[in-house]
Symmetry: C3
Subunit: 154 residues, 3 copies
């Protein structure tokens, strides 16, 4: 089964590719490693903003982390042509826009990790940090970056 088929099976649609918010690119491939820069919970005109633990609940933030994972996959799909070239998700760095006192950051970033494992199975199992940031660009709720390994080009 291709990853595209798996996404359909899960009822998931990739959002349009989000253009970088400054003078940089969404990801860079060197050898068999792809580094994906920070992505946020953006899907077309929808952006999830606000401090988690104040304007947003844990559940809101978990959904934002899931949206962010889909935005990352959209960038990779555009860069690679398809998602079947992803051999292993290596690492996720999950940053949560926290209000004072909120520290359930692992439960938030599970929204991203769960999706990656749903989509890629064992190949999606990664290592991770999930931490609370003082500020994220444009007050987005979550920002996530990722490192993955690719199969050689066919």
């Amino acid at each position: 089964m291709t990853i595209a088929d798996r996404l359909t099976e899960l009822g998931l649609m990739l959002p349009t590719v989000f253009p970088p918010a400054g003078n940089y690119v969404g990801c860079v491939i060197v050898g068999d490693i792809v580094h994906v820069g920070g992505h946020g919970p953006v899907d077309g005109d929808t952006v999830i903003c606000g401090k988690v633990g104040a304007e947003l609940t844990l559940e809101d933030a978990r959904r934002a982390a899931r949206m962010t994972a889909l935005s990352i996959l959209s960038t990779l799909n555009a860069e690679l042509g398809n998602l079947d070239r992803i051999r292993r998700i290596i690492k996720v760095f999950g940053m949560v826009n926290v209000a004072p006192g909120f520290n359930q950051t692992p439960a938030v970033i599970d929204g991203c990790s769960d999706l990656l494992i749903d989509v890629f199975g064992e190949r999606g199992r990664h290592t991770r940090s999930a931490v609370g940031l003082a500020a994220l660009p444009f007050d987005i709720a979550v920002e996530i970056e990722m490192i993955a390994q690719l199969w050689p080009e066919p």
Copy 2:
């Protein structure tokens, strides 16, 4: 001298492996590189929590960073079978759970860096960032992630 012998010589014991706090794994190996996700100051039932500069002093936090380094080594020891396969510590990303006004984060993370160099000698000398976070999972005092290079499997 093996690293196990060196740990004994230094009077250090590895804690039991800390189970990940969400849907992820403690480290991922790709080629000769191991990525270790965020670890905290946990040793069995002991966890060091609190804001550094308020509930915790610089010295408390430095001890927490040292405990965190041992927790990372415990994860690597379990994954690799022993610590002699570590060829070089490449990078440490040290995150300190700061109270407003506390910015001596390098002195805190030296608790981790000093231990790595004590244990591995020149091979333990790494590059690093040491910064102040707004929140860490479960209010732990310090969270550290690491990248290292491995020797080929024998």
Copy 3:
């Protein structure tokens, strides 16, 4: 044209190499990848400190990010002998010392990204995160770490 010539053309001077603020080194090379640890806006006796959005404006912070990029290049120049061995800037992780309410972190870190692209052209185009930290060492305005790919040694 060498990178040294390009720096001269742009009217840029590398600062003296900043000594690490703890028990670590400025960068580590493994294979064809160099990991550069956290650098700050330091040029000789000049250091840009303060919270962005309170003591410092966006423009001040953007200049600090540009200074930080030059400090990173100074470390790489000292390690590599020259900057022509840099094949590709892979990733920048930009951390801004934010006052409450400031979240224009991408515009700040563009001060670094713009300079890298001015100096290296297409080879300088990287992926990135640009986020707001609760505290940076010694209250510096900006801290940036970087990953780059090198050409083989001649």
